[in-house]
């Protein structure tokens, strides 16, 4: 076997790694071996949290809708609102309802009155 020096193969790989970990704190952006580990952890967290993000935002929307709906009347809440929504066969999802609640609250009141009838 001819002798082969490894040259810059490893260095090229590690520069990409360095770029990825460039915003990490302390040794996690300076030391190569810890950078590889932290990169793995970062990517795994990102993957897992992309799934969680969907859940988180749905929770946020529900909380927001609930807050606005409670102001609408006594003994009226998110669960009744959603129940009425389905009874009247509306298709608006929670994301849109939360946005409307945030920005155009009178529109949400209109919807909720319309549903209550």
């Amino acid at each position: 076997m001819t002798r082969i020096k490894r040259g810059y193969i490893a260095r090229r790989r590690r520069t990409k790694l360095r770029l990825f970990a460039s915003s990490f704190r302390g040794a996690h952006s300076r030391l190569t071996r810890t950078m590889t580990q932290q990169r793995i952890r970062a990517l795994v967290s990102a993957h897992r949290d992309r799934g969680k993000r969907k859940r988180d935002f749905r929770r946020l929307w529900i909380t927001r809708i609930n807050a606005v709906i409670h102001e609408t009347g006594v003994f009226y809440s998110y669960n009744r609102f959603i129940h009425n929504l389905y009874k009247k066969q509306l298709l608006l999802n929670r994301k849109i309802l939360a946005q409307i609640a945030l920005l155009n609250r009178s529109c949400l009141y209109t919807i909720s009155n319309e549903i209550k009838k």
Partner: protein
């Protein structure tokens, strides 16, 4: 919170500022309904298949003002002159109306003159006129047209601007101590459409807006 970065100001005056939403997931709520798009090509019209996505689509929905970009450019050239004239002139009036439309399994709040990113519309090419039929809600300054489930005969007209890909997402699967790791990159195809108008809702029973 990411949601705090949403700064769409849909105040009761319907002022149209830049809409910056970092929301990246969409809700696949509608197993009930299938989105349908009409492509008005000169040769033939046909329904296009659509794909689904998460509660926050990987699209960064940042419907920007095409015009505000132009205004910014002008201001950088002539600062003094345009500052005075902007105050004096009215910004070009848009119809103060919005609609909630369902495209690609997701729902969007839509304004005429803005663009948004949707799932890739397979049979659309650039500069195609598109008609979106699933209009769930139309809101004007005084009235709201609430669809049960759809506002009948309401249509949103749009133009396909661009068929591209989302930013790359690295899907990294890893199991510690089991020598298992998979590194995959993914770019979701998307379509950028610009909304030109919202029509056809006038006949539908309207509900007057309740004052806040």
């Amino acid at each position: 919170m990411a949601s705090s970065s949403v700064t769409l100001s849909l105040c009761s005056a319907f002022s149209t500022h830049c809409n910056v939403t970092s929301r990246r997931s969409s809700v696949i709520l509608s197993s009930l309904s299938k989105p349908s798009l009409n492509l008005t090509k000169p040769v033939s019209g046909f329904l296009s298949p659509s794909t689904a996505s998460t509660s926050r689509p990987a699209f960064p929905v940042a419907p920007k003002f095409a015009e505000s970009v132009l205004e910014a450019e002008q201001e950088t050239t002539d600062v003094e002159a345009t500052v005075v004239s902007d105050v004096a002139e009215d910004k070009p009036k848009r119809e103060e109306i919005f609609a909630v439309v369902m495209v690609g399994g997701r729902q969007y709040i839509v304004f005429p003159g803005r663009y948004l990113y949707t799932q890739r519309l397979k049979d659309a090419s650039v500069n195609d006129q598109i008609v979106l039929n699933k209009v769930l809600l139309v809101g004007t300054k005084t009235h709201t047209y609430i669809g049960k489930p759809v506002v009948t005969n309401a249509t949103v007209h749009a133009v396909v601007e661009n068929q591209g890909l989302n930013d790359k997402v690295v899907v990294f699967k890893y199991k510690p101590k089991k020598k298992y790791r998979r590194n995959i990159g993914h770019r979701q195809p998307n379509t950028r459409i610009k909304i030109t108008g919202i029509t056809g809702y006038e006949e539908y029973p309207a509900s007057p807006n309740v004052p806040v």
